[in-house]
């Protein structure tokens, strides 16, 4: 049959080359930094140096201080994000699917979204005090907003042709939802999750910097105030690495779930 094209899975360009170039870029940056520091061009108090940071990393790790703070931040982040997913997903799906629920929830979320999330933190402290749950609430709010906005958009973006298809085959409402609306919204949903993770990481650190007695944000604030720049960098790099790793993991999930789509890199 002349119209049978041979399907050819679209291959991604080789990852290895991309990774190599990225590694070279980072390495060159680190080497240049070290050279500038060794040459004494800038005071080590202001700039520190990669070798000093590695040394500080060793000290903080050996004393168990870094792990302790990472665990504190990690728990606040994980609990807040988990709540944002567990509560945010069903609520967003409802708001996208049911018109009246959408009308009810949309103004509340819009108002919350317009406010700078960090500006809510002083209020949260007044309600909950300084400790664990105030951070969790801030993380929850920032994650929830990202998930809500992406998921409701995904549910509403359902292709009208697919709805027509479902009507033509007399699909029930649950069938329409589970077989057409929800799978169609999955790419949006995963994007929302990825945005949420990014926001939650940032907000845990910001909250800890503003008011806390432990956590990576606390480390940054404490060592910053005492001019221990290498230690600040250790904390900062831990946050960046965590964020990048989580983002990459979610990208892999997206890639796996979206294997029905042609990929363009």
């Amino acid at each position: 049959m002349s119209d049978l094209a041979i399907p050819r899975p679209i291959r991604l360009p080789r990852i290895s080359e991309r990774a190599a170039i990225g590694t070279v870029s980072i390495s060159l940056g680190v080497v240049a930094w070290e050279l500038v520091a060794r040459a004494g061009l800038v005071s080590p108090v202001l700039l520190s140096s990669p070798s000093a940071i590695v040394a500080a990393f060793g000290r903080l790790l050996a004393s168990g201080e870094l792990e302790r703070h990472l665990i504190v931040s990690g728990r606040e982040f994980a609990v807040g994000l988990l709540l944002a997913i567990v509560i945010g997903l069903p609520v967003s799906v409802l708001a996208g699917w049911n018109t009246r629920a959408g009308w009810f929830l949309q103004p509340l979320v819009s108002a919350l979204y317009a406010a700078p999330t960090v500006a809510l933190f002083p209020l949260i402290i007044i309600f909950l005090g300084i400790g664990f749950w105030d951070k969790v609430l801030l993380v929850f709010i920032s994650g929830f907003l990202q998930i809500f906005i992406a998921t409701t958009a995904g549910i509403r973006a359902t292709d009208r042709r697919w709805v027509r298809l479902a009507l033509s085959f007399k699909a029930s409402q649950p069938k329409l939802f589970w077989s057409i609306v929800l799978p169609g919204a999955v790419p949006y949903l995963l994007l929302g999750l990825r945005l949420a993770v990014g926001r939650c990481v940032v907000n845990v650190v910001v909250a800890e910097m503003l008011a806390s007695e432990a956590g990576v944000g606390y480390m940054i604030a404490f060592y910053g105030n005492t001019f221990k720049v290498a230690e600040v960098f250790v904390a900062l790099i831990s946050v960046v690495v965590t964020g990048v790793v989580l983002n990459q993991l979610l990208l892999m999930v997206e890639h796996h779930v979206g294997r029905w789509r042609p990929t363009v890199q």
Partner: protein
């Protein structure tokens, strides 16, 4: 005389008080292949949506197997103009969609889908995703999905309009083969006169907006037909006749005439 499978009685449809269909009446017999041609914008596709039950008629009746129908039903299946495949489902899972809506078991649905994959010539593509298929192959899946629910009447809405000329011809010939093997009653809407004539037992010619039945033309072509029929004198004169009907109608309505396909 063969049994009447589908009867339209004075079917009218108005959209925003603009008449799209005006008193359309005709019958389709069991196992018959009927084509509908008319100038674009004459309401042919709208009529299929009305018959399928996706939009309610303003006036008139639709009767399938002697029973009046309202709303969508398992007795009719629509082959969409755009394939409208679910991109996250494989070919197999797209074909089983209608069966799932009828609460068929997973095993039944898969068995049925596999036999339809063979029927429409997609062997080996059961696990392919729609983006991996050509336009013609996507329309084969679209057709198989409609056939899977075993409808009494198959409604086809310009399914080959977006295909290139060669693929379209191949698909026309294959559709006739599939129709012969399945014995379905088919109502096929197209704006291509030669396609209508090649496929159909009867060609219903529509007027421009609002759509009305202008005439019914019976091609004098024996079956089975292969594509060489398209060069025969009977075929060409039939096409010519329909063409002049549509043109004559276009002259009566100058404001729509320019759009005659």
């Amino acid at each position: 005389m063969a049994k009447k499978k589908l009867e339209l009685k004075d079917l009218s449809f108005e959209y925003a008080s603009l008449a799209a269909l005006d008193g359309v009446s005709f019958d389709v017999e069991e196992g018959e292949f009927v084509s509908i041609v008319g100038p674009s914008g004459c309401g042919k596709s709208t009529m299929l949506s009305v018959i399928d039950g996706l939009i309610p008629a303003t006036r008139g009746k639709i009767v399938v197997d002697g029973k009046e129908v309202r709303g969508p039903g398992h007795d009719r299946a629509l082959v969409f103009q755009e394939p409208s495949l679910l991109p996250w489902r494989t070919v197999l899972a797209n074909i089983t969609f209608g069966l799932e809506c009828q609460k068929a078991t997973r095993k039944e649905a898969a068995e049925k889908a596999h036999s339809l994959i063979r029927l429409v010539g997609l062997d080996g593509f059961a696990d392919a995703y729609p983006y991996q298929l050509s336009g013609g192959m996507q329309q084969r899946v679209n057709l198989a999905r409609a056939l899977a629910v075993d409808p009494e009447v198959l409604l086809m809405d310009e399914p080959f309009a977006a295909l290139d000329a060669q693929t379209r011809e191949v698909m026309q010939a294959e559709l006739l083969g599939i129709w012969r093997r399945t014995d379905k009653t088919v109502l096929f809407v197209t704006h291509q006169i030669d396609e209508a004539v090649y496929l159909a037992d009867r060609v219903i010619v529509f007027t421009g907006r609002p759509g009305r039945v202008q005439d019914i033309v019976v091609p004098r072509l024996s079956r089975p037909r292969d594509l060489s029929v398209k060069h025969s004198r009977d075929f060409l004169s039939c096409v010519e006749r329909i063409w002049s009907l549509i043109q004559a109608d276009g002259k009566k309505l100058p404001e729509h005439g320019g759009r005659a396909a």
